[in-house]
Each structure stands twice: as C-alpha cells, then as structure tokens.
Subunit: 206 residues, 2 copies
DNA sequence: ACAAAGAATGAATAATGATTCACTACTTAT
DNA sequence: ATAAGTAGTGAATCATTATTCATTCTTTGT
C-alpha cells in the first residue's frame, strides 16, 4: 500500500469542503438558492465542478448543509436573546428584535431561509428551522402565561402568527422591491411590527 | 379575400382560450405554478402544446393571466366582507374570516397566490395582489382609527402583519405538513388567529 | 525513483421542459 | 369547387444546468 490518507490531507480536504460551503453561502446570500449555480460556486471556490461532487453527494445535499449552517446561526441568536433576564414579555420582545434586525441586515438570506422554495431536502430543513423558532417562542409564551404577563392562549398558534407577521413584514415582496436601504434607520418599522406582535400576545396597549 | 374571421370563429377561439385558462387554474390549484407543465395543461385542455402558444405569448404570460383571474376572485370576496355593516373592527374581522376560510378550502392555490415564487411576470402580479389586500385592510384600519375602535398606529404596517400572521398559520410550511383535514372543523384555529390579529390591532382583549 | 492510491479536472452527457415551425386541417368568400 | 387565409398539430429544437467519468495530477510509502 503506497498511499494512505494522512492528517495533512484530511485537513486539506476539510478546508476545501469548508471553502465550498462558504462560497455557497455567499452565493445564496446574493441571490438565493435557486440562482446559486454549481459552476458559479465552483468558480468562487476555485475548484472544478467535479470536485464539488467529491465533497457532496449532490447540489441538494450541499444546499441542505448550507441551509442548516445558516439556520443554526439564526436560531442560536434568537435563543440567546430569549435567555436574557426580565419577564417573558421582555425576553420575547428582545428575541423578536433580534430576529427582525438580522433579517433586515441580510434580506436575501432571510428570504432564502424563511420562504424560498428550493427542493425537498432543503424544504425538510426549513421545516426543522421553523419548528425550532416556533418551539422557542411557544415555550416562552407558555412561561409568560404562567408568570401572568400573557393571558391564556393557544401558544403554538400564537407563535406561528408571530413568525408570520414578522416574516411578511420583513421579507415579503413589498419590502424586497424597495431599494435596499443599507444603513437606513429601520427602527420605526421594527417598532411597529413589535408593537403589533406584543399586542397580539398580551391584548394590552403599551 | 377568401377567409375573414367571423363571429362564430371568434367565439370558438375565446372558448378554447378560456378552457386553457381553466385547465391551468386546475393544475395550479393542484400543485402550484412551478409544477404546472405546458404538456399537462395541453393534455387537460385537449389541445396540442403549440395551440397554447397561439393563445398566449408564453408560459409566463399564461400564468400571469391565471394569477390575475384567481386574485380578482379573492380580493373581491374580501372587499365584499369589508362592505358589510358594523364598525371597522367587526368588518375587518369578517374579512379576515373570509380570507382564512377561503385559504383553508384551497390551500395550494392560496399558497401559490400568497407565497410561491414563480417568475418576474407573476411576481409583478403578486405585488399588485398584495397591494390590493394591503390597501383594503389599511383603509379599514384607518377608518377604525377615526371611528375610535382602533388606537392610532401605522396602518400599512399593521395590515402587512395581518396578512403575514394569517398566511403563515394557514399556508405556511408548518400547516401544509399536517394531514389535509378536509372537512374538519377549523373554527378553533381560525378563532385563535383572529384573536391574535384583532388584539394586535386593538390592543384589547375581548 | 517508482508504483499504488486517491483527488481533481472539466468536457461530455443527460435530463428536463419550454418553445418553434413546417405541415395539415379547417373556414370562409367567390 | 377553388383559393386564400387562419387555426391546430406535435415532433423536433433549443436552452439550461446538474452530474458523470475517463483522464491527469498529487500524495504517500517503499
């Protein structure tokens, strides 16, 4: 036996793999999954198209992995915001702000994760993604009901409404057509959304 | 001049055109625009694929027209509900119920109209569709503010949240995975959504 | 230096599906 | 009946891209 995979090679391969993932991420952030061509990704990563298939079973699989990666980042941020101190309402509000803020900073990625239909494998991941959000929100809503800061309600349904209201406001076609106002002050927009959401939960004007 | 289009022919053509539109509608209601193949549509309509191109410039154009048709139906229903008697809150609630009820009865079509990304021409139509809803809701919210049954708020933003909350709950990926409960009683679901939405608008528990 | 094994390459292939167009069939007016 | 014009046909074409695989290049152990 002349050649045996060595540590050095393992690392080099891992690096190439990572580079492909990063370049895919970049492509997706630019124009979504559907417009991310294998040739473009290969070009960015400075490898041949065939090489991508050495590291990933298929385009779908590559996308599913990139989706998971991107997703994890987002969900972690929201979970983090939910772990701050304060009552359930305050924590939820912080989380919604986190969600909205990140989506506004990367609208194409947000759209890809929330709404863009891609293929069954990615769709499966998206399901998990939405469920992760729903569960996080739902749990906090329940805590809020126990704490007494939210009235009794269908926590699961409410969390779905939350995600929907935010997603629609932030990545709906109306917001995407408007010129990409990079460093514009989006606080009033976020404030209006948050107000609607918190009122929807609490039934209390503030 | 030997042949000149006669009334009879005009009607026959119009009929064929209409049949194509109806069959396209059927395909879309089944699986959305993306999976509606020209061949399938032609098959259903009992014409050759080429015939479709005698009546429509392109697939995109055909879809845009079908979208418009479907859209008009939906918006009209909501507008109708908004024209009943009662205060703004009552009328809006009736409209939301109409919206939700129709979406539940035709979830794939609702998804196609609200969320499925297709192509630029259809996307343009969707924009008009969303604007139509937004304007209807927005107008009523404004009336409600004047009437005093809603507190002052960003009416446009609130209407977007309304659409989002409903869409997510009814046609979002989470709801689509659940078994298609044909004739199940969806009232509790709709009630929960409506409650969230009305609270979001009024900031009042009821 | 050599050979074995694996990795990378990218042109060729394959699959999908919209669209075209040369042709046939039908309608109409004379 | 005939000719001119229009509608309908559907197999062939074209366009787009993911994927393959025969070949070339690298790495490793002896």
């Amino acid at each position: 036996m002349a050649y045996r995979e060595t540590e050095k090679m393992r690392q080099r391969k891992a690096l190439a793999r990572e580079k492909i993932i990063n370049c895919t991420y970049e492509c997706v952030a630019e124009g979504g999954f559907r417009s991310a061509r294998i040739t473009r990704i290969a070009g960015l990563a400075e490898v041949a198209t065939g090489t991508i298939y050495r590291h990933f079973e298929s385009r779908e699989d590559l996308f599913a992995e990139v989706f998971q990666l991107a997703t994890q980042k987002e969900v972690d941020k929201v979970a983090e915001a939910l772990n701050t101190s304060g009552d359930a309402a305050a924590r939820l509000e912080a989380a919604l702000r986190q969600f909205a803020g990140r989506a506004l900073r990367g609208p194409v990625m947000a759209w890809s994760l929330l709404a863009e239909p891609v293929d069954p494998k990615v769709e499966e991941e998206r399901l998990a993604y939405r469920k992760a959000y729903a569960s996080l929100f739902e749990k906090t809503i329940r805590e809020g009901i126990t704490e007494g800061c939210f009235p009794d309600q269908n926590a699961q349904q409410s969390s779905t409404c939350l995600v929907g209201a935010i997603a629609e406001s932030l990545v709906g076609p109306l917001s995407l057509t408007q010129p990409n106002r990079e460093n514009e002050d989006n606080d009033p927009l976020v404030d209006a959304i948050i107000r609607f959401c918190m009122q929807g939960l609490t039934g209390t004007r503030r």
